[in-house]
């Protein structure tokens, strides 16, 4: 590893407004997605899904469906004799034994029970209607509270309860502090919502020369390949995973879903290409759901409101938990963020993740952090009200100041840098100004109330994968090859779901080598063409993928300099690399081009310095030194390579008649360390805020008491451009001393703050009615119920 990270060349592109590489294709509809692939002989698959939330399968009759003209085969779990259940590497959890098709029981409405393979999707759907399944219905567990009950019906009969995960750390130290002080208790809940990428899930499997080729929407080419080799009777060398253009992942596409396995199995069995393209109705019930947390906080409070110690219980509703990798990790992440960027030394968090008869929970942008921030930031406002202190001063009295850094939180997170207090003060300044303006505008309107709310937060970025999989860790990889014409091929394990990964890989490679960006070709997301990497999750790719690029580039550049020094007969220290040329300092005409050097390295190897190996290529792997994968004996872990921070302010108007919240101003100060591409960073913030506001105000995945999903796509209110306010974004840059170039991840920050900021703004706006604001979503009906009826 390296002590100081630097670019090998002058930063020509890093920090500049480099145009995103894929925009032409994406904006003109020329991107090739899985659904655009149609190899000859392709068959399509439709999944027969359980309409029952919890039941025992007593019979499956497929003959009538199999007899439909154009149907190739109908399969059930019984046919998958050579398929293994998904593995579970987490010894600290119970194992759901997830299998691609339901075996004896169904545990959520939408469970895959059978598959119809047909000449096309129309026929497959016609025949799927004819598959008859008999169920003996069982009582459904439909809420996290119900799942916690000791006599709750069990989803997995070999478990003694519905707790997949149950971590109860020793809380005696905190209990002692609670016992001697004023204690405040609150319960917060965040509802169930999820990513709604424009492209649904899709997979196409084909057999080429005895090898399985899987084109899919998964966020990790290599993790997908390895997982397939665990589940299918195939050697890893016989699997190639390629991820073409993807229309948004957001964590939802982190999981290797049953359909990915099923298309592969069917393609191998029938020797013809098999495709599955999820439709939106399936997406609502069969792609991972997220959030659905309950957080109980008990805190010892000083006279001035400061939190002296906290005891927290986090419970996450996993749905049926039949998903790989497992989905309990958001609850662990919530636990790690419960103190926020405040100096709260004593905090103990117990974590439970429970199974219910709902769609499996999974990853979603924010990954446990929005839940923690909503609970803690609402709690601080409630303490301020309770104690009678100013909510901003209360935050100031606890916020980490520059002199406190580096600071290790109670959970073990190493905050090595950040602008916690500074970004907060800036947002307060802008927020108070915007609030005054709103107040002046609406003061005389009897139907309106305005309020401003704040949230200040840190967010772990670039985490270990171990929390989710208990298997993979945290490295990323990169191969850089300079070809004889001087052009560069860079291949990395990172992947692009539309967020601009390809562009930052090109940017860092160009600057690290000192070559024009146009000469850099980026190859990603093909397990045959790229070295083993972990792909997209946890806002990690720029930080960790960037580290691998810098390491590989440094190695290539070292060789470039040696060859150039030999060719120019000058010492390597005197050489300057710029725009694809190497020249002697002070003498720009004494130069060789990258093409000269690479031709020497690869073709005219006789001209190499004596003893030098041919070739101009390097592969490097980077695993952040300070990232920890398993907790210590007290449960503390520094699970991330870096920590970004932000402060949010929302100024809202509440319509007292309808309960509708209108966002008048949304202000955010964001700090992701060194910025590589400012428009991409802004884009990430905009998109994150949109999804954060979606979960706060609009999106809600509801189930009734029978476990029947109640939210069709028509009722799942993803905010459109009309609903998203103009944002004021202020940038702070506190480079991390421990990451490549000081970068921190930016992919999720926007998602994390809106629930807390809006909740606090609503509390202020409706203060005269003493509203209880402890849950999201804050739909108009929910808000209207906080307002006395005579107000209309």
């Amino acid at each position: 590893m390296t002590d100081t990270w630097e670019l090998g060349g002058r930063p020509v592109y890093t920090g500049a407004h480099v145009t995103r590489r894929q925009d032409d294709a994406l904006l003109s509809g020329r991107g090739t997605y899985v659904a655009d692939l149609r190899p000859s002989g392709m068959a399509e698959m439709a999944v027969v899904r359980s309409p029952v939330a919890h039941g025992r399968i007593t019979a499956v009759r497929t003959a009538e469906a199999a007899a439909v003209d154009g149907v190739i085969e109908v399969i059930t779990a019984a046919d998958l004799t050579d398929v293994a259940p998904y593995p579970n590497f987490a010894a600290y959890t119970q194992t759901p034994g997830t299998f691609p098709l339901a075996q004896d029981k169904v545990r959520y409405a939408g469970s895959p029970v059978a598959v119809v393979l047909a000449e096309n999707r129309y026929i497959a759907e016609d025949a799927a209607e004819l598959v008859e399944v008999d169920y003996t219905e069982l009582p459904a567990v439909t809420s996290l509270e119900a799942a916690l009950e000791p006599d709750s019906p069990r989803l997995f009969e070999d478990w003694s309860n519905n707790r997949l995960l149950d971590l109860q750390p020793d809380d005696s130290e905190v209990a002692a502090i609670l016992a001697g002080n004023r204690v405040l208790r609150r319960r917060y809940k965040m509802g169930r919502h999820t990513a709604m990428p424009m492209e649904t899930r899709a997979a196409l499997a084909e057999v080429h020369n005895g090898r399985l080729h899987l084109w899919c929407t998964n966020q990790h080419a290599h993790i997908a390949r390895t997982t397939l080799s665990y589940v299918l009777p195939l050697a890893e060398r016989d699997i190639r995973v390629v991820i073409p253009y993807v229309g948004g992942g957001f964590g939802l596409k982190q999981h290797l879903y049953p359909e990915d396995v099923l298309v592969s199995w069917l393609a191998l069995r029938h020797g013809r290409p098999v495709r599955f393209v999820e439709d939106r109705a399936e997406h609502m019930i069969a792609a991972a759901h997220a959030r659905d947390h309950m957080i109980d906080i008990e805190a010892a409070i000083a006279d001035d409101g400061r939190i002296l110690a906290m005891r927290v219980q986090v419970v996450q509703d996993l749905g049926s938990a039949e998903i790989f990798p497992g989905a309990w990790c958001p609850a662990l992440t919530t636990a790690a963020h419960m103190t926020g960027p405040y100096d709260i030394r004593d905090c103990v968090v117990s974590v439970a993740a429970v199974t219910t008869n709902k769609t499996p929970g999974g990853s979603y942008r924010g990954f446990g952090v929005p839940e923690a921030v909503f609970a803690l930031e609402r709690f601080i406002d409630e303490i301020a009200d309770e104690v009678g202190v100013d909510r901003l001063d209360l935050r100031r009295s606890m916020l980490l100041q520059p002199a406190d850094l580096p600071y290790t939180t109670a959970s073990g997170a190493l905050l090595d840098s950040g602008s916690f207090a500074e970004s907060f003060e800036r947002v307060v300044e802008l927020g108070e100004h915007a609030y005054q303006r709103a107040d002046a505008q609406y003061r005389s309107d009897p139907d309106s109330r305005v309020g401003v709310g704040y949230a200040v937060l840190f967010e772990g970025v670039s985490p270990t994968h171990h929390g989710a999989s208990a298997h993979w860790m945290g490295h990323e990889s990169c191969t850089i090859e300079v070809q004889p014409d001087g052009g560069v091929r860079v291949a990395s394990g990172v992947t692009d779901q539309g967020q601009g990964t390809t562009t930052f890989v090109a940017t860092l490679t160009a600057d690290a080598l000192g070559v024009p960006i146009e000469t850099v070709r980026v190859e990603l997301a093909d397990s045959d063409a790229t070295p083993y990497g972990l792909g997209a999750f946890g806002s990690r790719q720029a930080v960790i993928g960037g580290g691998a690029i810098l390491l590989a580039a440094a190695e290539v550049q070292g060789k470039v300099k040696k060859i150039a020094a030999h060719m120019l007969e000058a010492p390597t220290d005197d050489l300057v690399i710029e725009a694809g040329r190497v020249h002697v300092a002070g003498s720009p005409v004494r130069a060789v081009t990258m093409a000269d050097i690479a031709t020497t390295a690869v073709i005219r190897t006789i001209d190499l310095p004596p003893g030098m190996e041919p070739g101009l290529e390097a592969t490097a792997r980077y695993e952040p030194e300070l990232m920890e994968h398993t907790p210590d004996e007290k449960g503390r872990i520094n699970a991330n390579a870096a920590y970004a921070n932000a402060a949010h302010a929302a100024v809202i108007r509440v319509d007292l008649g309808t309960g509708e919240i209108e966002i008048l101003d949304y202000i955010l100060a964001h700090d992701c360390g060194t910025v590589i591409n400012p428009p991409i960073v802004d884009g990430q913030i905009w998109g994150g805020i949109a999804q954060g506001l979606g979960g706060t105000l609009y999106e809600d995945l509801c189930f009734n008491d029978l476990g029947q999903p109640q939210t069709a796509f028509m009722d799942y209110l993803v905010p459109s451009a009309i609903e998203i306010p103009d944002l004021v974004i202020e940038h702070f840059e506190s480079p991390s001393p421990n990451t490549p170039l000081g970068m921190k991840g930016v992919g999720e920050g926007g998602t994390v703050g809106p629930a807390a900021a809006i909740g606090n703004a609503l509390a202020q706006a409706l203060a005269e009615f003493s509203p209880q604001i402890h849950e999201t979503p804050l739909s108009p009906a929910v808000v209207r119920a906080m307002i006395p009826d005579q107000r209309t």
């Binding site: 999707r121 129309y122 759907e125 016609d126 209607e129 439709d279 939106r280 109705a281 008649g657 309808t658 309960g659 509708e660 609009y698 809600d700 509801c702 109640q710 939210t711 028509m714 009722d715 209110l717 905010p719 459109s720 009309i722 609903e723 739909s779 108009p780 009906a781 209207r784 119920a785 009826d789 209309t792």
Partner: protein, 282 residues
Amino acid sequence: MKPPPFAYCRPHSLHEALELLAEHGDEARPLAGGQSLVPMLNHRLARPAVLVDIGAIGDLQRMDRNESGWMIGATVTQRRVEQESVEGCDLLRLAMPFIGHRQIRARGTVGGSIAHADPAAELPAVALTLDATMVATGLDGERAIPAAAFFAGPYMNSLEEGEILSRVTFPTVPPTTRCSFREFARRKGDFAVAGVAAAVDFEDGSVTAASLTAFAVGSNPVRLTSAEAAVAGRHLDEAALADSAEAAAAEIEPWDDIHGSPQYRRQLVAVLLRRALQEVAP
């Protein structure tokens, strides 16, 4: 989300369409703009064996005005109505922007929306408020159905088998009539959680005629007769607004869904009606 197999025909005359409907009976469904029927086909909620596309029938695309009102052919698009001034028919003009999004209005038709009778749709509420007349055409000829008799429950109308809704007549109102259309939807373009349409005529500041309708709160749009009575003959002062809003909330029987309880919908209708009346008050 693929439809089951169906046959498709696209006749060029109304007579031909009616013959096809007669031939196939309840196996056939007319297809206009497809903004509701096509999703229902894809979700397999509707399974007609034959789709009779009435989009190529010139007679159904006419939009004329005579002394009593606007006669709008069944397949005139909502977007076209929006772009015309529909003079004398303010309520229709006001309601148009609330129907879905512009792309939906470019395909969606006036007749399609009314025949579909979605409880949350705007055009049925406008038709009921203005006492519009639906013209049903069958092989035996035409019959006029008043709006109040046309809607027969959620997604149900009173057309007989073999009949097509061929046009709708929206009466024009006198210049002294003031209109308001109010709807509360979760996002711009969504179906209403609750809505109110009002057409009120005044003389010397007093209400001489009030036509008030609530929609998205029950099986079909409903005339708020108690609320109408509450404002009859009165100036629209605070007390009249309050009486009318209270009467409206009491006389509706709202349903329950994930966007709002009956109680919330009563609150919404009260506040929307109050605001509509404030808007039309001279």
